[in-house]
């Protein structure tokens, strides 16, 4: 088999601050990109999909395992690859053509040859006439076209795309996605294969021949779904909808096995119950957002399909799933077989007055969100009913990298404040037991 790039048993750990061990982002991942195919890496945030892409591009080294590209082990920026970035990553002080020429310049091409090739690539992405414009004069969609031209011009074996359409508005993204797909189907694509990272299920089914589904905590391959549709993939085909719904189902049910052509070893579940209350990550969602989603589902009638719901809300799938996770964590909703049902508590929370829903929220949080419950208990047991934030941040640091620890802490604070369990003084960085709780 003519695989161009393969990741073999790749793992990635990041050291936690102050030598508190390691945080595992990827755990024993095998991924292969063959000649002539489009592969999508589909996963939620925390599945390490972007990290995996960067390891395969040779931008960061794996902690263990290896990446092979055209038969060579990758030990630095991978010459077979050109990358399209989510944020475009254009140098603002270079014109369009200078940005496109960047990769050619690095390969030591002469000025005339560079200009010739760059003009051709700019033509391919439809930016004729904008050669000497600066990125700040362009719209988001045009900026990403420059990003594509910069990648096309070096004629890579594999084009890597890191959520290339997610920074664009819906219509622009749709348009550009369509054009890239047409280019691929026409057989004039300037690369042999494509590897795209996405959290957008529809996008994966539309563009890819194969979808590799990644699981979270730590990132691992759950399985591969082959998109057995003739190109271009017709969105209205029954099979398209079937595959999309199946993938939605897979994404909302972390334990569900993924029908896979490649055998994936059964993973031992890490013992969830005995873990520290700080080890279980909270979805970063505001309480008001949870309430908003529940109200919508109540209005639309319970038993909604997750796929349909996500579409109607026009929310990024990642955000949508995080809100749903939070609702499930608080026992306000249940997901089974790709359908959302609202629990009686959830219905009450969505419809009651502010004070009543706060009381309910307080109960649910204390029962089902161990980290908030533990913080509250700690404050209650203290003589002066206050505690420095650093105390809890240190505990979180044991399980997360610094930025994520801070984010976890902020979410816990947000929920606890809403529940009026405790107060937080951001200037003093100190937690204080809420008056209601203190009196109780």
């Amino acid at each position: 088999m003519s695989d161009l790039i393969r990741a073999v048993d790749v793992s990635k750990f990041f050291p936690l601050p102050e030598g508190k061990g390691e945080f595992t982002v990827l755990d024993g991942v095998d991924v292969r990109v063959d000649a002539g195919e489009v592969v999508a890496l589909l996963g939620r945030s925390g599945s390490g999909k972007s990290t995996l892409l960067r390891i395969m591009a040779g931008l960061i080294p794996p902690s263990s395992g290896s990446v092979e590209s055209s038969g060579r082990t990758v030990d630095g920026p991978n010459p077979d690859v050109a990358m399209v970035f989510q944020s475009f990553a254009l140098l603002p002080w270079l014109t369009v053509i200078e940005n496109v020429e960047l990769g050619l310049e690095a390969r030591g091409l002469g000025r005339t040859e560079r200009t010739k090739r760059a003009l051709k690539a700019i033509d391919t992405v439809g930016l004729d006439g904008f050669e000497s414009a600066y990125p700040k004069e362009l719209s988001g969609g045009m900026k990403q076209r420059v990003g594509f031209a910069r990648a096309f011009v070096v004629e890579p074996k594999v084009l890597f795309m890191d959520e290339p359409f997610s920074a664009l508005d819906v219509l622009t993204a749709e348009n550009l996605r369509g054009e890239i797909d047409e280019l691929w189907n026409a057989g004039t694509f300037p690369a042999t294969s494509v590897l795209i990272v996405t959290h957008n299920i529809e996008e994966a089914v539309f563009l890819a021949d194969r979808v590799v589904v990644l699981g979270t905590n730590p990132g691992h391959v759950r399985g591969t779904v082959t998109i057995d549709l003739p190109r271009p993939h017709d969105r209205n085909a029954a099979r398209f909808r079937e595959l999309t719904e199946y993938l939605y189902n897979v994404m909302t049910t972390p334990d569900m096995p993924v029908a896979s052509a490649e055998a994936t070893p059964a993973r031992p579940k890490s013992g969830g119950e005995t873990r520290s209350p700080f080890a279980r990550p909270l979805p970063h969602v505001r309480v008001g957002t949870i309430s908003g989603l529940l109200e919508l589902i109540v209005d639309m009638g319970t038993g909604q399909e997750v796929a349909g719901l996500a579409e109607r809300l026009a929310l990024p799938v990642d955000d949508f799933l995080a809100i749903l996770d939070a609702a499930v964590l608080l026992h306000f909703a249940e997901v089974s077989e790709g359908c959302v049902t609202i629990t009686p508590a959830g219905r009450y929370f969505a419809t009651a007055t502010i004070q009543d829903s706060k009381t309910l929220f307080r109960q649910q949080v204390l029962e089902y969100v161990p980290i908030v419950a533990t913080i509250t208990r700690t404050l209650v047991s203290k003589e002066n009913k206050t505690m420095k934030a650093d105390f809890f941040l240190d505990l979180l640091d044991e399980y997360y990298p610094a930025a994520e620890a801070k984010a976890q802490f902020n979410t816990a604070i947000e929920w606890g404040r809403y529940a009026e369990l405790f107060e937080y003084d951001a200037v003093e960085e100190r937690l204080k037991l809420g008056e209601a709780t203190a009196a109780a």
Binding site: R54, A57, L59, P61, D75, G76, P77, P79, V81, A82, M83, F85, Q86, S87, F88, A89, L90, L91, P92, W93, L94, I97, L102, G103, E105, A106, R107, G108, R111, T115, L119, G129, F130, E131, S132, A133, Y134, P135, K136, E137, K143, R150, V154, V427
Partner: protein
Amino acid sequence: MAQRMLPGPGSLRRVSFGLSDVAVFLGAIGLLALIAKVGAGAFTSFAPPQVVPAVSLDPRNLPYYAGRSTLRMFIGLAASLVFTFAYGYAAARSRYAERILIPLLDILQSVPVLGFLSITVTGFIALFPGSLLGLEAASIFAIFTAQAWNMAFSFYQSLRTLPSDLVEATAAYRLSYWERFVRLEVPAGMIGLVWNAMMSFGGGWFFLAASEAISVLNRSYTLPGIGSYVAAAVTAKDMPALGWAVLTMAGVIFAIDQLFWRPLVAWSDKFRLEQSASASPPQSWLYDLLRGSRLAGFAGALWTPVSDAASGLLSSLTQVRPRRAPGPRGVIADRVYTLALVVLVAALVIAGVRFIFAAVGLREVVKVAELGIYTSLRVLILLAFATVIWTPIGVAIGFSPKLARVMQPIVLFFASFPANFIFPFATLAFLQYHIPINTGSILLMALGAQWYILFNSIAGAQSIPTDLREMADDIGLQGRQRWRRLIVPGIFSSWVTGGITASGGAWNASIVSEVVTWGTSTLTAAGLGAYIAEATSKGDWPRITLGVGMMSLYVVCINRILWRRLYALAERKYHL
């Protein structure tokens, strides 16, 4: 927007010289001639140390002297730039280098470098025996010390805060280290670099004036220049000559602003990191002229093959090599390195303390510490007065966009005018009206330092969002309440920035403003600055070391105790 990339067939015929080309051509020729004339002076006036070049007080010589001084300023700036790239790059790239270089930079930034002038002058004279080149180098070094630290720190900061997606893009497209440097790292730091260089250029004039005529080790040295002209005029009590010097200085500062800094600022605006265009880009007539001129474009085209070849060579020398596996030795090497650093610093401190105590004893150290208190008090009083006087004026200017447009360049001009040119006038006034120098020196220090408070008050007031001001009007916040609730919190961050800069300037100025002369009469205040100045002119090494060390200690302590905290408070609570 669509512009032709390659010259079309008709383009040759269209090459005709416009008015802008004539102007650019004449300007370029004139500049070259000027540099040749002034630069030649620096070489022909080599003289044995017995023959100290005299400075003629004929005002007709002033343009030439100003030219000599300006040349020094630009050589100092170029040296600062080279230093900035090397130092900032090393500090940002090597973890080991960072741990020495950044604390060192922090100290150099806050220490009154003017106190080191005597040390460097002696060093450079020894380096070039029998010629004026040593003095020339010492003066340039003084200018360098006024600029280099700020610039290096700014470059280091921008290297540390490069947008990670751009760093990844340059790595993914396998740019060599040289290409990353010219395509990403320098452009990303450009705006900060230009701004910092421009602001510290003013400080450079101050140091230049202090370093052109200096007495070190019981000897006076004079270097032809506008600073030594002022010194000579003071000795000769020549009031008209002083007036001419101030006028010339003002003209030079104005010209350099128009011909150098403004075009540079206008050009550097394209290095903004935001992906959207700025609302009101800085303007410069000279920059527009150069851009409109075909001649400049033609010169650029001639240069292209040369720069291409050079950059190709540098790129091939700085290819990114495959990474090596990180070894386990990291932790141990780290500890050894830290230990070595601690030992080194401790050894230096012990050596310094022994050197001082061997010559002066504890009583003098206590006395110098007391002098330090006087100077600290002067700095604090100055800050308090400058704040009370200039903040309301600054806020008034900042709240009126029209006034701000007119006043900001004027304030910037005053800030970059070397205050020591005004000192003789003030000294004369002190003598005439019997103002004691102990309080008078506060005024002298304020001459340079106060502008930072004013300038930052204006900037702070401008940064208060209009809707907040409208809200304050709407709910009828007035007088004291308006200041307490809106203005003070709103300008606090800017005021802290201004305060730090002003206090740094004032400490430096204390060395030249606690001892002033007019003709043969000398006024000396009780203070650390006067102590250092006296020790310097006598060439008393232990006392120079003690004085400078004590002042550094004061400055670093006040920075840690006062400014750091205010800064943290501003960041935490009053960030708009």
